[in-house]
Amino acid sequence: MNDNIRPLPAELEAELRALGDVQAPAELWHRVSLSLMEEVEAPDELWERVLPEVEAASRPTTPIFAFPRLAAAAAVLFLVTISFVASGFQPTAMNSSASMSSHDALRDYYASRVTAVSVTPDQLSPSARGLAASMGASIEVVR
């Protein structure tokens, strides 16, 4: 055991403790600490043993815009977009809910500019009755 181990940075320590139920061997604390100081690397056998648990429970500690991840994400977004376009993607009530919400707001705004009075069909003008009848409404048309 190396006695020159320095304490981990508080932030890293907190993150490691946040791993919760993952039981890391005491040796790992030392190895990780040394690894951060680039003084020594943890043996492969140790990493292989704990990596599945760490990956499952940990948050990313590498920079979020690390190149491989960014490239993969960008490529996925690009190809998903291309595949949707190529497949004749069409807006539906479900996948365009945002635009439909905007459309509904516009509709309600314009509708609010009208004060509508409900009338019986015979209180409509002859022209309105005639047009409604032309659309198939059951209504007497008297000119």
Binding site: P68, Q90, Y110, S118, S125, A128, M135
Partner: protein, 340 residues
Amino acid sequence: MSFARIGSVLILLSAVVGCLPQGSRPGARLSYTSGQSGNIGVAAAALPLADFVYPEDATLRQDRTYEVVDASGNLDRYREILWADGTGQFSLEIAGVAEDGLPSFSAPDAFWQSSYLTRQRYLVHYRDFRIHNENQVRRNYTWSELPGTTTMAGRNCSRYLAESVYSLGSVEFVMDQQSKLILGWIRRDGAGNLVCQMSTDALNETPNLSGVVWSQAIAPEQEYNGPPDDNLLGFSPNPVIYYPAGFSHGDQRIILSQVTYGSQIPNLHLEVLRDGLVNIMVAQQLEVIGGGGAFPEIIIAREAEIGGIRVMEGDVQSIRTYVIGSLPSQELLAVLGAMN
């Protein structure tokens, strides 16, 4: 697995999914084969729509029944005879009337005969359903072939259902499997309530057409070509600004009603908004009585609901404006309100 590797897998998956026909995709509904149970369909974009033949385009005598919910909620039924010569000429006569849910038909009186004489062209063009624009239908509807075979007028028929992706209702078509002729349709609103329907009672595809008086426009019509035509109207029509989801503008026409009826009924500017299947009629006319307000911010409109067909009538900048269709009131009010 690294994020880069996960990304690579996703790339492959998305590329594969993008290349598949829609019907093959996980979660997509597959086209049905006769005899299967359940309503199985696909997004209308995935498959070619059915290749319909419409009665008014065929050569036939079609005895049919048109049913529509009236203002009281009763079903009014009208027996009609459609004659068509295959070249675009047609005639729509009324043969029986059974209003207010009455079970038996009575012979149409002079009023009804006159009413059909004047309306027949509009009924066929604006009331009867047909696919006006396949691309619009693909965008705005899901398209299903309903299971099984049904019989109408002695013919084996398939049924197709177009359902609005915007919850604005549906149209179901009944098609003769052999001739592709449309023998019936059902229009339902967004809540699934019946608005109107047509069904064929008897069909003769080799009719004797001698003596048939083909329909004529009761008033001359012409395309509206913008401001140069405004002198025929006496006003400049207000543009339609708001379109219900999936709808777009249609042709604009002028109906020269003054030629037929005199100055009592001013000429009419008519625009039909369409979503590929369903029509909304927007008409504008110089007011006959009263001057209206001077550009009022609020439009006072009369609203009548006649079964599932709704009528809005209001004055927009001193122009009497009518908005009529089988969409929810809020949609038609918005069309009207946006014109101010």
